[in-house]
Protein backbone atom coordinates (compact mmCIF):
# COMPACT_ATOMS: atom_id res chain seq x y z
CA UNK A 1 0.00 0.00 0.00
CA UNK A 2 1.29 3.43 -0.85
CA UNK A 3 0.60 6.29 1.50
CA UNK A 4 0.66 9.72 0.00
CA UNK A 5 1.44 12.58 2.28
CA UNK A 6 0.10 15.88 1.18
CA UNK A 7 1.56 19.06 2.64
CA UNK A 8 -0.54 22.14 2.41
CA UNK A 9 1.08 25.47 2.88
CA UNK A 10 -0.68 28.47 4.23
CA UNK A 11 -3.46 26.84 6.25
CA UNK A 12 -4.95 28.69 9.18
CA UNK A 13 -2.33 29.36 11.80
CA UNK A 14 0.45 27.77 9.77
CA UNK A 15 2.50 30.93 9.52
CA UNK A 16 3.30 30.19 5.88
CA UNK A 17 2.64 33.36 3.98
CA UNK A 18 4.74 32.60 0.94
CA UNK A 19 7.41 35.23 1.35
CA UNK A 20 11.13 34.76 1.54
CA UNK A 21 11.92 37.51 3.99
CA UNK A 22 14.20 40.47 3.48
CA UNK A 23 17.87 39.70 3.28
CA UNK A 24 19.65 41.06 6.33
CA UNK A 25 16.43 42.42 7.80
CA UNK A 26 14.13 39.60 8.78
CA UNK A 27 13.40 36.00 7.92
CA UNK A 28 10.64 34.77 5.68
CA UNK A 29 7.98 32.14 6.18
CA UNK A 30 8.32 29.96 3.08
CA UNK A 31 10.06 26.58 3.33
CA UNK A 32 12.48 27.23 0.48
CA UNK A 33 13.60 30.65 1.58
CA UNK A 34 12.37 31.97 -1.72
CA UNK A 35 9.20 33.94 -1.85
CA UNK A 36 6.23 32.46 -3.66
CA UNK A 37 4.33 35.65 -4.04
CA UNK A 38 5.26 38.85 -5.80
CA UNK A 39 6.14 41.93 -3.82
CA UNK A 40 3.11 44.17 -3.47
CA UNK A 41 2.86 46.83 -6.14
CA UNK A 42 3.58 50.37 -5.07
CA UNK A 43 0.48 52.53 -4.81
CA UNK A 44 0.14 54.51 -8.01
CA UNK A 45 -1.97 57.42 -6.84
CA UNK A 46 -4.89 58.96 -8.66
CA UNK A 47 -5.29 59.16 -12.40
CA UNK A 48 -6.65 62.71 -12.49
CA UNK A 49 -4.32 65.35 -11.12
CA UNK A 50 -6.17 68.37 -12.46
CA UNK A 51 -4.34 68.75 -15.77
CA UNK A 52 -4.77 67.25 -19.23
CA UNK A 53 -2.62 64.18 -19.86
CA UNK A 54 -0.95 63.12 -23.07
CA UNK A 55 -3.15 61.11 -25.42
CA UNK A 56 -2.38 57.40 -25.72
CA UNK A 57 -1.05 56.05 -29.03
CA UNK A 58 -3.82 53.52 -29.19
CA UNK A 59 -7.00 55.40 -28.43
CA UNK A 60 -10.10 53.89 -26.90
CA UNK A 61 -13.29 54.15 -28.92
CA UNK A 62 -16.30 55.93 -27.39
CA UNK A 63 -18.05 52.58 -27.07
CA UNK A 64 -15.08 50.85 -25.43
CA UNK A 65 -14.66 53.80 -23.04
CA UNK A 66 -18.31 53.59 -22.00
CA UNK A 67 -18.25 49.83 -21.54
CA UNK A 68 -15.05 49.94 -19.51
CA UNK A 69 -16.44 52.77 -17.38
CA UNK A 70 -19.58 50.84 -16.64
CA UNK A 71 -17.65 47.72 -15.65
CA UNK A 72 -15.45 49.68 -13.26
CA UNK A 73 -18.43 51.57 -11.87
CA UNK A 74 -20.12 48.25 -11.01
CA UNK A 75 -16.94 47.03 -9.33
CA UNK A 76 -16.61 50.21 -7.27
CA UNK A 77 -20.31 50.32 -6.36
CA UNK A 78 -20.35 46.67 -5.26
CA UNK A 79 -17.22 47.18 -3.21
CA UNK A 80 -18.31 50.40 -1.52
CA UNK A 81 -22.00 49.70 -1.06
CA UNK A 82 -21.54 45.98 -0.39
CA UNK A 83 -24.47 44.73 -2.48
CA UNK A 84 -24.77 43.16 -5.93
CA UNK A 85 -25.31 45.57 -8.80
CA UNK A 86 -26.68 44.81 -12.26
CA UNK A 87 -26.67 46.49 -15.67
CA UNK A 88 -30.03 47.89 -16.71
CA UNK A 89 -29.30 49.63 -20.00
CA UNK A 90 -28.49 46.71 -22.31
CA UNK A 91 -30.09 47.26 -25.74
CA UNK A 92 -32.01 50.34 -24.58
CA UNK A 93 -31.60 53.74 -26.16
CA UNK A 94 -31.88 56.54 -23.59
CA UNK A 95 -32.13 54.23 -20.61
CA UNK A 96 -33.02 56.33 -17.51
CA UNK A 97 -30.35 54.55 -15.48
CA UNK A 98 -27.29 52.44 -16.26
CA UNK A 99 -26.68 50.26 -13.23
CA UNK A 100 -28.59 49.66 -10.00
CA UNK A 101 -28.40 47.67 -6.81
CA UNK A 102 -29.53 47.86 -3.20
CA UNK A 103 -30.80 51.43 -2.60
CA UNK A 104 -29.04 53.03 -5.55
CA UNK A 105 -29.98 53.78 -9.15
CA UNK A 106 -26.93 55.00 -10.96
CA UNK A 107 -26.03 56.78 -14.15
CA UNK A 108 -22.45 56.17 -15.28
CA UNK A 109 -20.40 58.84 -17.02
CA UNK A 110 -16.88 58.24 -18.28
CA UNK A 111 -14.21 60.61 -19.51
CA UNK A 112 -10.54 60.35 -20.38
CA UNK A 113 -7.76 62.15 -18.51
CA UNK A 114 -6.46 63.19 -21.94
CA UNK A 115 -9.57 65.30 -22.56
CA UNK A 116 -8.87 68.90 -23.49
CA UNK A 117 -9.90 71.71 -21.12
CA UNK A 118 -13.30 72.18 -22.80
CA UNK A 119 -14.12 68.48 -22.36
CA UNK A 120 -13.06 68.12 -18.74
CA UNK A 121 -16.54 67.38 -17.51
CA UNK A 122 -19.20 64.67 -17.43
CA UNK A 123 -22.24 65.65 -19.41
CA UNK A 124 -25.74 64.20 -19.85
CA UNK A 125 -26.13 63.06 -23.44
CA UNK A 126 -29.34 62.76 -25.41
CA UNK A 127 -28.54 59.51 -27.16
CA UNK A 128 -28.91 58.52 -30.77
CA UNK A 129 -32.32 59.63 -32.15
CA UNK A 130 -34.76 56.89 -33.08
CA UNK A 131 -35.82 56.29 -36.70
CA UNK A 132 -38.98 58.43 -36.52
CA UNK A 133 -37.21 61.24 -34.67
CA UNK A 134 -34.39 61.22 -37.21
CA UNK A 135 -36.84 61.77 -40.06
CA UNK A 136 -38.51 64.64 -38.24
CA UNK A 137 -35.16 66.23 -37.36
CA UNK A 138 -34.40 66.41 -41.08
CA UNK A 139 -37.43 68.65 -41.49
CA UNK A 140 -36.35 71.10 -38.77
CA UNK A 141 -34.18 74.18 -39.16
CA UNK A 142 -31.20 74.66 -36.81
CA UNK A 143 -33.20 76.79 -34.34
CA UNK A 144 -35.91 74.16 -34.09
CA UNK A 145 -33.33 71.41 -33.69
CA UNK A 146 -31.69 73.28 -30.84
CA UNK A 147 -35.04 73.85 -29.12
CA UNK A 148 -35.96 70.20 -29.59
CA UNK A 149 -32.67 68.93 -28.17
CA UNK A 150 -32.92 71.27 -25.16
CA UNK A 151 -36.41 69.95 -24.45
CA UNK A 152 -35.20 66.36 -24.93
CA UNK A 153 -32.29 66.86 -22.54
CA UNK A 154 -34.62 68.21 -19.83
CA UNK A 155 -37.17 65.48 -20.47
CA UNK A 156 -34.50 62.76 -20.12
CA UNK A 157 -33.39 64.23 -16.78
CA UNK A 158 -36.99 64.40 -15.56
CA UNK A 159 -37.55 60.79 -16.63
CA UNK A 160 -34.54 59.64 -14.64
CA UNK A 161 -36.01 61.08 -11.45
CA UNK A 162 -39.44 59.65 -12.30
CA UNK A 163 -37.90 56.21 -12.86
CA UNK A 164 -36.18 56.36 -9.46
CA UNK A 165 -39.50 57.19 -7.77
CA UNK A 166 -41.11 54.22 -9.50
CA UNK A 167 -38.17 51.99 -8.52
CA UNK A 168 -38.69 53.04 -4.87
CA UNK A 169 -42.36 52.08 -5.14
CA UNK A 170 -41.49 48.66 -6.54
CA UNK A 171 -38.81 48.02 -3.90
CA UNK A 172 -40.87 49.39 -1.01
CA UNK A 173 -37.76 51.29 0.11
CA UNK A 174 -36.34 54.64 -0.85
CA UNK A 175 -34.02 54.33 -3.84
CA UNK A 176 -31.60 57.17 -4.43
CA UNK A 177 -30.42 58.40 -7.79
CA UNK A 178 -26.71 59.02 -8.17
CA UNK A 179 -24.06 59.51 -10.81
CA UNK A 180 -20.80 57.62 -10.92
CA UNK A 181 -18.22 59.67 -12.80
CA UNK A 182 -15.03 58.01 -13.97
CA UNK A 183 -11.84 59.50 -15.28
CA UNK A 184 -9.90 56.88 -17.22
CA UNK A 185 -6.17 57.04 -17.82
CA UNK A 186 -5.50 57.73 -21.53
CA UNK A 187 -4.64 54.04 -22.18
CA UNK A 188 -7.70 52.87 -20.25
CA UNK A 189 -5.68 50.85 -17.74
CA UNK A 190 -6.88 52.65 -14.61
CA UNK A 191 -9.69 54.93 -13.52
CA UNK A 192 -10.63 57.27 -10.69
CA UNK A 193 -14.19 56.73 -9.52
CA UNK A 194 -16.40 59.47 -8.04
CA UNK A 195 -19.88 58.99 -6.59
CA UNK A 196 -22.09 62.08 -6.85
CA UNK A 197 -25.63 62.22 -5.45
CA UNK A 198 -28.42 62.94 -7.96
CA UNK A 199 -28.49 63.32 -11.72
CA UNK A 200 -27.01 66.35 -13.43
CA UNK A 201 -26.84 67.93 -16.89
CA UNK A 202 -23.16 68.81 -16.63
CA UNK A 203 -20.52 68.17 -13.99
CA UNK A 204 -17.23 70.02 -14.40
CA UNK A 205 -14.28 68.00 -13.11
CA UNK A 206 -12.82 70.96 -11.24
CA UNK A 207 -15.96 70.98 -9.10
CA UNK A 208 -16.92 67.31 -8.92
CA UNK A 209 -13.71 65.31 -9.40
CA UNK A 210 -12.74 66.25 -5.84
CA UNK A 211 -12.03 64.57 -2.50
CA UNK A 212 -15.64 65.05 -1.51
CA UNK A 213 -16.90 62.59 -4.12
CA UNK A 214 -13.80 60.42 -4.60
CA UNK A 215 -14.36 56.70 -4.06
CA UNK A 216 -11.10 55.17 -5.22
CA UNK A 217 -8.80 54.36 -8.13
CA UNK A 218 -9.29 51.03 -9.85
CA UNK A 219 -7.26 48.96 -12.30
CA UNK A 220 -9.23 48.09 -15.41
Amino acid sequence: MTVKLIFRKGGPGSGHHGHGGLKGVHGGSSDSGKGTSKAPAKPKGRVWTGTQQEKAKKRLSKLATGELGERLAMKAAEEKIGAPFATFNTDINNSPIDIAGDHHAIEVKTGLASNGKSAQHWRATIGEPGKAEKELLKQMDSKQKRAHNTWKRQEILKRKNDAVKEMSRIAGEEIKGATIGLILSPDGSRADVYLIPGFHQRMAWNKYATDKYYVGTYDA
Binding site: G50, A83, P84, A86, F88, N89, I92, N93, N94, S95, P96, I97, A100, G101, D102, H103, P129, G130, A132, E133, L136, L137, Q139, M140, Q144, A147, H148, W151, K152, E155, I156, R159, D162, A163, E166, M167, I170, A171, E173, E174, N206, K207, T210, D211, K212, Y214, V215
Partner: protein
Protein backbone atom coordinates in the same frame (compact mmCIF):
# COMPACT_ATOMS: atom_id res chain seq x y z
CA UNK B 1 -52.42 68.81 -37.71
CA UNK B 2 -49.45 68.59 -35.30
CA UNK B 3 -46.30 70.38 -36.42
CA UNK B 4 -42.90 68.76 -36.79
CA UNK B 5 -41.78 69.77 -33.27
CA UNK B 6 -44.82 68.19 -31.63
CA UNK B 7 -44.40 65.03 -33.68
CA UNK B 8 -40.73 64.80 -32.70
CA UNK B 9 -41.64 65.20 -29.02
CA UNK B 10 -44.23 62.45 -29.36
CA UNK B 11 -41.60 60.18 -30.93
CA UNK B 12 -39.13 60.88 -28.12
CA UNK B 13 -41.82 60.41 -25.45
CA UNK B 14 -42.71 57.03 -26.95
CA UNK B 15 -39.08 55.97 -26.92
CA UNK B 16 -38.53 57.16 -23.33
CA UNK B 17 -41.70 55.38 -22.19
CA UNK B 18 -40.43 52.17 -23.72
CA UNK B 19 -36.99 52.56 -22.13
CA UNK B 20 -38.51 53.27 -18.71
CA UNK B 21 -40.86 50.32 -18.96
CA UNK B 22 -38.00 47.93 -19.82
CA UNK B 23 -35.80 49.23 -17.00
CA UNK B 24 -38.60 48.96 -14.44
CA UNK B 25 -39.32 45.37 -15.51
CA UNK B 26 -35.63 44.55 -15.05
CA UNK B 27 -35.63 46.30 -11.67
CA UNK B 28 -38.67 44.34 -10.50
CA UNK B 29 -36.90 41.14 -11.47
CA UNK B 30 -33.74 42.29 -9.67
CA UNK B 31 -35.68 43.13 -6.48
CA UNK B 32 -37.47 39.76 -6.57
CA UNK B 33 -34.35 37.71 -7.22
CA UNK B 34 -31.40 39.56 -5.66
CA UNK B 35 -33.46 41.70 -3.26
CA UNK B 36 -32.45 44.83 -1.43
CA UNK B 37 -31.39 45.19 2.16
CA UNK B 38 -33.83 46.85 4.53
CA UNK B 39 -32.38 50.05 5.86
CA UNK B 40 -31.23 49.62 9.41
CA UNK B 41 -30.16 53.15 10.12
CA UNK B 42 -31.85 56.49 10.40
CA UNK B 43 -30.76 59.09 7.91
CA UNK B 44 -28.85 61.90 9.59
CA UNK B 45 -29.87 65.49 9.03
CA UNK B 46 -27.71 68.61 8.43
CA UNK B 47 -25.65 70.25 6.74
CA UNK B 48 -24.64 72.73 9.40
CA UNK B 49 -23.79 76.30 8.59
CA UNK B 50 -20.71 78.06 10.03
CA UNK B 51 -22.67 80.11 12.58
CA UNK B 52 -24.36 77.10 14.13
CA UNK B 53 -21.26 74.93 14.51
CA UNK B 54 -20.18 76.33 17.87
CA UNK B 55 -23.70 76.16 19.36
CA UNK B 56 -24.11 72.60 18.17
CA UNK B 57 -20.69 71.62 19.49
CA UNK B 58 -21.48 73.09 22.93
CA UNK B 59 -24.77 71.20 22.98
CA UNK B 60 -23.03 67.95 22.09
CA UNK B 61 -20.34 68.59 24.70
CA UNK B 62 -22.90 69.13 27.47
CA UNK B 63 -24.56 65.84 26.44
CA UNK B 64 -21.18 64.13 26.77
CA UNK B 65 -20.61 65.72 30.20
CA UNK B 66 -24.00 64.43 31.42
CA UNK B 67 -23.11 60.91 30.31
CA UNK B 68 -19.56 61.01 31.65
CA UNK B 69 -20.82 62.25 35.07
CA UNK B 70 -23.44 59.53 35.14
CA UNK B 71 -20.89 56.83 34.30
CA UNK B 72 -18.52 58.15 36.98
CA UNK B 73 -21.29 57.93 39.57
CA UNK B 74 -22.17 54.38 38.54
CA UNK B 75 -18.52 53.40 38.82
CA UNK B 76 -18.10 55.09 42.18
CA UNK B 77 -21.18 53.48 43.71
CA UNK B 78 -20.20 50.07 42.35
CA UNK B 79 -23.10 49.73 39.92
CA UNK B 80 -20.59 48.98 37.17
CA UNK B 81 -17.08 47.55 37.22
CA UNK B 82 -14.00 49.44 36.01
CA UNK B 83 -13.99 47.28 32.88
CA UNK B 84 -17.63 48.09 32.13
CA UNK B 85 -17.02 51.76 32.82
CA UNK B 86 -14.02 51.79 30.45
CA UNK B 87 -15.95 50.10 27.63
CA UNK B 88 -18.98 52.36 28.02
CA UNK B 89 -16.84 55.47 28.27
CA UNK B 90 -14.88 54.41 25.18
CA UNK B 91 -18.13 54.00 23.26
CA UNK B 92 -19.26 57.46 24.38
CA UNK B 93 -15.90 58.90 23.31
CA UNK B 94 -16.19 57.34 19.87
CA UNK B 95 -19.68 58.77 19.38
CA UNK B 96 -18.75 62.17 20.73
CA UNK B 97 -15.55 62.58 18.71
CA UNK B 98 -17.31 61.38 15.55
CA UNK B 99 -20.14 63.89 16.09
CA UNK B 100 -17.63 66.66 16.74
CA UNK B 101 -15.76 65.81 13.54
CA UNK B 102 -19.04 65.87 11.61
CA UNK B 103 -19.90 69.27 13.13
CA UNK B 104 -16.50 70.62 12.11
CA UNK B 105 -16.97 69.27 8.62
CA UNK B 106 -20.44 70.79 8.31
CA UNK B 107 -22.56 67.64 8.55
CA UNK B 108 -22.49 63.85 8.57
CA UNK B 109 -23.08 63.70 4.84
CA UNK B 110 -20.04 65.90 4.22
CA UNK B 111 -17.67 63.41 5.87
CA UNK B 112 -15.64 61.40 3.36
CA UNK B 113 -13.84 58.08 3.85
CA UNK B 114 -10.60 60.05 3.97
CA UNK B 115 -11.99 62.26 6.78
CA UNK B 116 -12.89 59.23 8.90
CA UNK B 117 -9.39 57.94 8.24
CA UNK B 118 -7.89 61.18 9.53
CA UNK B 119 -9.90 60.87 12.71
CA UNK B 120 -8.46 57.37 13.39
CA UNK B 121 -5.11 58.35 14.94
CA UNK B 122 -6.82 60.89 17.23
CA UNK B 123 -9.22 58.20 18.48
CA UNK B 124 -6.35 55.78 19.09
CA UNK B 125 -4.62 58.47 21.15
CA UNK B 126 -7.74 59.04 23.26
CA UNK B 127 -8.24 55.29 23.84
CA UNK B 128 -4.63 55.10 25.04
CA UNK B 129 -5.24 57.96 27.50
CA UNK B 130 -8.41 56.21 28.65
CA UNK B 131 -6.45 53.03 29.35
CA UNK B 132 -4.11 55.08 31.56
CA UNK B 133 -7.10 56.67 33.30
CA UNK B 134 -8.68 53.27 33.99
CA UNK B 135 -5.38 51.94 35.36
CA UNK B 136 -5.06 55.00 37.61
CA UNK B 137 -8.56 54.45 39.03
CA UNK B 138 -7.77 50.78 39.59
CA UNK B 139 -4.48 51.55 41.36
CA UNK B 140 -6.03 54.22 43.58
CA UNK B 141 -9.49 52.79 44.20
CA UNK B 142 -9.22 53.25 47.98
CA UNK B 143 -8.51 56.97 47.88
CA UNK B 144 -9.96 58.23 44.62
CA UNK B 145 -12.85 60.70 44.82
CA UNK B 146 -15.93 60.99 42.65
CA UNK B 147 -15.03 64.62 42.02
CA UNK B 148 -11.65 63.59 40.59
CA UNK B 149 -13.14 60.94 38.26
CA UNK B 150 -15.76 63.39 36.99
CA UNK B 151 -13.24 66.17 36.43
CA UNK B 152 -10.73 63.98 34.61
CA UNK B 153 -13.46 62.41 32.47
CA UNK B 154 -14.63 65.89 31.50
CA UNK B 155 -11.19 66.70 30.07
CA UNK B 156 -12.01 64.31 27.23
CA UNK B 157 -14.94 66.59 26.47
CA UNK B 158 -12.56 69.46 25.81
CA UNK B 159 -10.35 67.40 23.54
CA UNK B 160 -13.07 66.66 20.99
CA UNK B 161 -12.81 70.21 19.69
CA UNK B 162 -9.56 69.15 18.04
CA UNK B 163 -11.37 66.61 15.86
CA UNK B 164 -13.74 69.40 14.73
CA UNK B 165 -10.79 71.72 14.01
CA UNK B 166 -9.00 68.95 12.13
CA UNK B 167 -11.97 68.52 9.79
CA UNK B 168 -12.31 72.27 9.28
CA UNK B 169 -8.64 72.52 8.38
CA UNK B 170 -8.71 69.63 5.91
CA UNK B 171 -5.42 68.18 4.71
CA UNK B 172 -4.38 71.40 2.99
CA UNK B 173 -4.64 73.86 5.89
CA UNK B 174 -3.38 71.21 8.31
CA UNK B 175 -0.18 71.05 6.26
CA UNK B 176 0.14 74.79 5.66
CA UNK B 177 -0.60 76.23 9.11
CA UNK B 178 2.14 76.05 11.76
CA UNK B 179 -0.25 74.72 14.43
CA UNK B 180 -3.93 74.03 15.04
CA UNK B 181 -6.13 74.89 18.05
CA UNK B 182 -6.07 72.15 20.74
CA UNK B 183 -3.22 70.30 19.03
CA UNK B 184 -1.24 70.20 22.27
CA UNK B 185 1.34 72.81 21.24
CA UNK B 186 0.22 75.27 23.95
CA UNK B 187 0.27 75.13 27.76
CA UNK B 188 -3.52 75.18 27.83
CA UNK B 189 -3.50 71.95 25.78
CA UNK B 190 -7.02 70.82 24.89
CA UNK B 191 -8.62 73.70 26.82
CA UNK B 192 -7.48 76.10 24.08
CA UNK B 193 -10.35 78.13 22.64
CA UNK B 194 -8.31 80.12 20.15
CA UNK B 195 -9.08 80.14 16.46
CA UNK B 196 -7.59 80.77 13.03
CA UNK B 197 -9.71 83.39 11.27
CA UNK B 198 -9.58 83.43 7.47
CA UNK B 199 -9.83 86.30 5.03
CA UNK B 200 -9.69 85.85 1.27
CA UNK B 201 -7.31 88.51 -0.01
CA UNK B 202 -7.46 88.01 -3.77
CA UNK B 203 -7.72 85.47 -6.56
CA UNK B 204 -5.16 85.01 -9.33
CA UNK B 205 -6.27 82.53 -11.98
CA UNK B 206 -6.86 79.25 -10.18
CA UNK B 207 -5.14 80.43 -6.99
CA UNK B 208 -6.79 82.00 -3.99
CA UNK B 209 -4.70 83.97 -1.48
CA UNK B 210 -5.93 83.38 2.07
CA UNK B 211 -4.83 85.18 5.21
CA UNK B 212 -5.05 83.17 8.45
CA UNK B 213 -4.85 85.13 11.72
CA UNK B 214 -4.58 83.49 15.17
CA UNK B 215 -7.22 85.02 17.46
CA UNK B 216 -7.76 84.46 21.18
CA UNK B 217 -11.05 82.89 22.19
CA UNK B 218 -13.12 83.45 25.31
CA UNK B 219 -11.01 81.73 27.96
CA UNK B 220 -8.13 82.20 30.37
CA UNK B 221 -5.15 82.29 28.05
CA UNK B 222 -1.84 80.58 28.41
CA UNK B 223 1.43 82.46 27.62
CA UNK B 224 1.87 80.73 24.25
CA UNK B 225 -1.64 81.63 23.04
CA UNK B 226 -1.13 85.24 24.12
CA UNK B 227 2.18 85.32 22.29
CA UNK B 228 0.54 83.89 19.18
CA UNK B 229 -2.37 86.39 19.23
CA UNK B 230 -2.43 88.18 15.88
CA UNK B 231 0.08 85.83 14.27
CA UNK B 232 -0.58 85.96 10.54
CA UNK B 233 0.12 83.52 7.74
CA UNK B 234 -0.78 84.07 4.09
CA UNK B 235 -1.14 81.04 1.86
CA UNK B 236 -1.83 80.46 -1.83
CA UNK B 237 -4.60 77.85 -2.10
CA UNK B 238 -5.94 76.15 -5.22
CA UNK B 239 -9.52 77.13 -6.05
CA UNK B 240 -10.64 73.50 -5.70
CA UNK B 241 -9.88 73.54 -1.97
CA UNK B 242 -12.74 74.52 0.31
CA UNK B 243 -11.74 77.49 2.45
CA UNK B 244 -13.36 77.50 5.92
CA UNK B 245 -14.27 80.83 7.51
CA UNK B 246 -12.14 79.79 10.48
CA UNK B 247 -10.59 76.83 12.23
CA UNK B 248 -11.21 75.96 15.88
CA UNK B 249 -12.64 78.07 18.69
CA UNK B 250 -14.46 75.06 20.20
Amino acid sequence: MPDVMTKAREAVTKELDKAEETVLKRWEKHVNTVGIKKKEFVEKQLPINEDDKLKLFELRRSMFFDTSDQLAEQLFTGDITIGEWQEQFKDQLRQYYSSSAAIGKGGWDEMTWADWGRLGPEMQKQYKYLQGFAEHISDNREDITLKYIKARARLYGEGAGFSAALMEAGTVFEALLPWLPKDGSTECLNRCHCRWVHTILRTEGQWVFVRSVWRLGEADHCPTCIERDGYTVTNRIHERVEIPGGIGGY
